[in-house]
Every structure is written in structure tokens, then in C-alpha cells.
């Protein structure tokens, strides 16, 4: 990833309407944003549209980017917010059975004690992603994906999402517990 100081000239040019400068920014960040959106939405086609929308929003709002954080952090914020909106729209349409209340999630204290076996490991990762994400509230998805896909530190996640590091830690723990428990349920339902 290019250091922020290398991107500022491109951002300045793009602000003045230089399409080529903005296209360079898109090329630098498109895989990251598409990966994040795919993780969030578990639907490659929808994620593609979402990622496009993220870049369009970023372009329109370039003047609001003040440069106090990395451009990538700003894009992550737009992506998380946009994907959250899409998930809420899905929920309103009843498109996806959703369990978004944190109280509803009761992780098994032993759920992290046993690693999934080889059969589960061999499951298709894309299908698995959909199954895992289906049971995760959007706040949990955000911390889990920013950590596992982007490798962000707790501090960086906290800044991106505007929450405390303690909240990041708590949500990450619960997200992993829930996801691993879902994996175990999946394995059990497959009769493995």
C-alpha cells in the first residue's frame, strides 16, 4: 500500500477533476474495498456494486477528506457505512433472516476449544463465508473483517469505526466465538 504522503498529490489532482489521478487511487484500493465488501455482504455481485458505489461516494466527497487519517482508513469507513446501509435495506426487505441483537448471541464457552476437523476445512470457503456472516451482527462483522482481512490493529479499527479499543476487543471476541460456533453447527448439520 502506498504511503499516505504519496497519495495526497493524487487526491489534490482528483479534487480538481483529474480523472486519471482518481483512477490511480481506485487501482490502488479496489481489491481491498471489494474484499471488504464481499466479506460484509457475502454476495460477490452485490459486493461489486457496493464497492463501485464506495468509490463514487469517495469521489463526490473528496473535499471532505481532511487527511488526518490515511486515505485507506477513510475508504474503509465509507465501505463499512455503505455495507451497513445495504444490510439494513436487506433486513427491511426481509431478504435475509437476521439476528442482529447482541443479547441473542450466547456463545458456548467451549466453542473455541476444539478446532474444526479436516472435513470442515475442506468446505468451500465462499459458502462458508455466507453461513458465518449470516449469524453475525453488522458491528461484529466490521471488527472481524477489518482485523482478519485488513490486518488492522485494535487502535486502527477503533479509529475507523469510531469506538473504543475495549469495544473492539469485546466485539472481536464475540464475533469469533459466534463464527466458530456457526462452523461447528454447519459441520454437525452436514452429518460429518
Amino acid at each position: 500500500m502506498a504511503p499516505e504522503y504519496e497519495e495526497m498529490p493524487l487526491i489534490e489532482l482528483a479534487r480538481k477533476g483529474d480523472g486519471e489521478a482518481f483512477s490511480q487511487l481506485v487501482r490502488r484500493h479496489e481489491t481491498d474495498i471489494r474484499r471488504l465488501a464481499t466479506g460484509f455482504l457475502s454476495d460477490p455481485s452485490e459486493a461489486q456494486d457496493a464497492a463501485q458505489e464506495v468509490f463514487i461516494k469517495a469521489y463526490k466527497n473528496l473535499n471532505k477528506f481532511r487527511g488526518d487519517s490515511a486515505f485507506s482508513t477513510w475508504l474503509h469507513q465509507i465501505t463499512v457505512n455503505h455495507c451497513r446501509d445495504m444490510l439494513r435495506a436487506r433486513k427491511r426487505r426481509g431478504w435475509l433472516p437476521w439476528n442482529s441483537r447482541e443479547d441473542d448471541i450466547v456463545p458456548d464457552s467451549e466453542s473455541l476449544s476444539t478446532p474444526p476437523d479436516e472435513a470442515t476445512r475442506n468446505s468451500d470457503a465462499g459458502v462458508l463465508l455466507g453461513q458465518l456472516m449470516k449469524g453475525l451482527p453488522e458491528d461484529y462483522r466490521a471488527v472481524l473483517l477489518l482485523r482478519e482481512l485488513k490486518g488492522l490493529s485494535y487502535l486502527e479499527i477503533a479509529k475507523t469505526l469510531g469506538i473504543s479499543q475495549d469495544a473492539v476487543k469485546a466485539r472481536l471476541r464475540r464475533a469469533r466465538q459466534t463464527a466458530l460456533e456457526a462452523m461447528r453447527h454447519l459441520k454437525a448439520s452436514e452429518g460429518v
Binding site: 481506485v26 461489486q48 463514487i56 476449544s113 474444526p116 482478519e148 476487543k169 472481536l172 469469533r176 462452523m183
Partner: protein
């Protein structure tokens, strides 16, 4: 380190958020504790699944798609953060001046507003009297009387 203590630190250990000393303590515990070792393996597996599921190559087609949509968009102007209060102050000042002009009609204009008096003067009527002039002259009078007293 105690098992209970390590259980609470597993996520931070997995994420590389612990100090080197604490991390080393957890690592030592993991060598001797299959339960905690399995919990770490579960976290590593989850990370792998997520990473595999979104293993997306760069796409020039995607970039072209974004750029194609840009032709219909433009960068919006910067936020009007300071001009708005400035405009509000200017508006308030204008209102204050207009109200001041019409509400303080000096008796010398016989109840007519300054503007209408000015209009009448231009049409050959009596000269309008401005309040400030009256105030200045009264100040001069007070000053003069003070000088006389001293």
C-alpha cells in the same frame, strides 16, 4: 501464566496486541495446554476461511466501471462551514440597519422616515435631520458645559 488468565488473552495474542513479555508467557502456556492450543488453532482457521473466501484478484474491468460512472459525477464543493455564520452575521447586520433607519425617526422630520424625508428633500422639501448629527451636537454641548465648569 495461569490457564484462566491466558484464556482471556487468546484473542490479543492471536492478533499480536500483547507486549513481548506477555506474549512469551502465553506462548509457553500454549505448549503445555491442548485446550488453549486448540482455541488458537480455531482462530487461525477462521482467519484462513475469511481470507480464502474473499481472495479477489485486481480487476481492470472494475476500475473502468467506476471511471465510467464518474463522468456523471463531480467532486462536491467544500463544506460551507465558515461562510454560513458570516452570512448570518451579515444578514443580521442588514436587518439591524434597516430597522434602525425606520424605527428612529427624528421629530424634525415630522414622523416621516429618513428615506422618505430624503426623497421629499430631493423633491424640494425640507432638509432631513439625522439622529447622529443631533447626538453629536448634544455631545458638543455637554462637553462645552463641562469645559466651562472647569
Amino acid at each position: 501464566m495461569e490457564h484462566k488468565e491466558v484464556r482471556l488473552l487468546l484473542d490479543e495474542y492471536h492478533d499480536g496486541e500483547l507486549s513481548p513479555a506477555t506474549s512469551s508467557g502465553v506462548r509457553d502456556h500454549l505448549k503445555a495446554c491442548p485446550e488453549c492450543g486448540a482455541a488458537i488453532a480455531g482462530r487461525e482457521y477462521l482467519a484462513q476461511v475469511l481470507s480464502d473466501a474473499v481472495n479477489i484478484p485486481p480487476s481492470e474491468e472494475f476500475v473502468r466501471g467506476v471511471l465510467g460512472r464518474l463522468t456523471k459525477s463531480r467532486v462536491e464543493p467544500a463544506s460551507l462551514r465558515w461562510p454560513l455564520p458570516a452570512m448570518a452575521v451579515a444578514l443580521a447586520a442588514s436587518v439591524f440597519i434597516v430597522v434602525g433607519l425606520f424605527s428612529h425617526t427624528p421629530p424634525e422630520n415630522n414622523g416621516r422616515g429618513l428615506i422618505s424625508a430624503k426623497f421629499e428633500y430631493e423633491q424640494g422639501g425640507p432638509m432631513p435631520v439625522m439622529e447622529q448629527e443631533m447626538e453629536i451636537s448634544s455631545h458638543d454641548q455637554v462637553l462645552g458645559s463641562l469645559l466651562e465648569e472647569s
